[in-house]
Symmetry: C2
Subunit: 227 residues, 2 copies
């Protein structure tokens, strides 16, 4: 959880954040390579409709990386075009997406096998697969270079945008009871489905069903207690 | 508009369709090549929440084609996971998307420059750019081959799915007044924004502002009279 400091203005801003979930999964693969999944999600509460922050880095080996960086919308963007404008059209998120995918030849769009996961992303989501195994030697060095010069820059920019516009920006207050109930319902669905699809599919494969069940049960209790 | 025949069961099924908009835009480009944009959209009315059919083929020259084939959802898929299941997870749309994008090397994902347009698509939307200009001669012949063996097959499958599951399938009736009002509002936004972004940006470039304004005014009257 984020620590509050003594500044009350600062504190009141952080009150929009519901909770922060971060994890690092590490596992030796049968191939000998190591799988590392690092993720950070900052969920917002229903006092605002500002998007959460989602960051995930899946490294399946020394020359392969899947990057997910997004502020997934909390409203239906087809209906709420002002929401689209505020968080996506008027920020620099699209520029970062293009920079990463158009200037790094080894980066290709990553399409999640889960149709549900595809739906939760914003239109400016950075979902990329970087593969430096082809094209001769230096694959590991090249991946490190891409992380340092491309991925890291994009990640910092996405975090910066989220801090400025969502976490510490002018608060988009949600006051109507009906509207808060809508957000609560949509957020609950978002959380339960993404955990079920994302962690529920990778954990059993990596650590076996028993450990996966224990972790998922704890997460469901955590999520449930906050709805 | 679709013609009704004498069979009453057949007729009642077509009553779910609001109207069909088809267009063919042809224009000589300064480069000497011809630009051809063919599109077909079958809109549904608010007696059902089944998706419409959207097909668009943008040929910017003899070796370049953008293909858009989709049944854009009429509900927020993050919230309505049963809708996602019925129209996307349980149909063969994703298989067609993969077939086209994974087996034809000249086909790459097409990302619309408009963030709003990106939002209206389903997670199984086929949005591809086919470019046969590189890789030596035979570009025109190769494009024709791809259209015949790849694009045409996918387009027929998407049309077939729409006919079976949306237009003539078991009707997903929307009876609650509140729910119909929601669909009406979302559909109106979808129509006005897609026409504004799609036609409103291409028409002035192709035919000048005056003609574009006249066409758009007529379309707005048509759309407005149906809301």
């Amino acid at each position: 959880m984020l620590e509050a400091n003594g500044n009350s203005e600062f504190n009141s801003k952080w009150l929009q954040i519901d909770f922060v979930l971060s994890s690092w999964l590490h596992c030796k693969l049968p191939t000998g390579a190591a799988m590392n999944i690092t993720s950070l999600t900052c969920y917002m509460n229903d006092s605002t409709d500002a998007p959460p922050l989602v960051m995930e880095f899946i490294q399946g080996g020394p020359t392969s990386l899947v990057v997910i960086l997004d502020l997934p919308p909390r409203r239906d963007l087809v209906l709420y075009s002002d929401y689209l404008k505020t968080f996506y059209e008027e920020t620099e998120l699209e520029k970062q997406r293009q920079l990463l995918l158009d200037t790094i030849p080894e980066a290709k769009p990553y399409v999640s096998p889960s149709l549900y996961i595809r739906c939760v992303f914003s239109p400016t989501a950075i979902t990329a697969r970087v593969d430096t195994s082809v094209g001769g030697g230096g694959g590991e060095t090249r991946l490190e270079e891409i992380v340092r010069e491309g991925v890291s820059v994009a990640a910092k920019k996405v975090l910066e945008t989220w801090l400025e516009v969502c976490a510490c920006g002018e608060k988009r207050e949600v006051t109507q009871e009906e509207d808060r109930a809508y957000l609560k319902k949509r957020d609950a669905m978002f959380k339960s489905k993404t955990i079920e699809v994302d962690i529920g599919s990778s954990l059993p494969r990596l650590f076996g069903q028993e450990i996966a069940d224990r972790v998922l049960a704890e997460l469901r209790v955590l999520m449930g207690s906050r709805d």
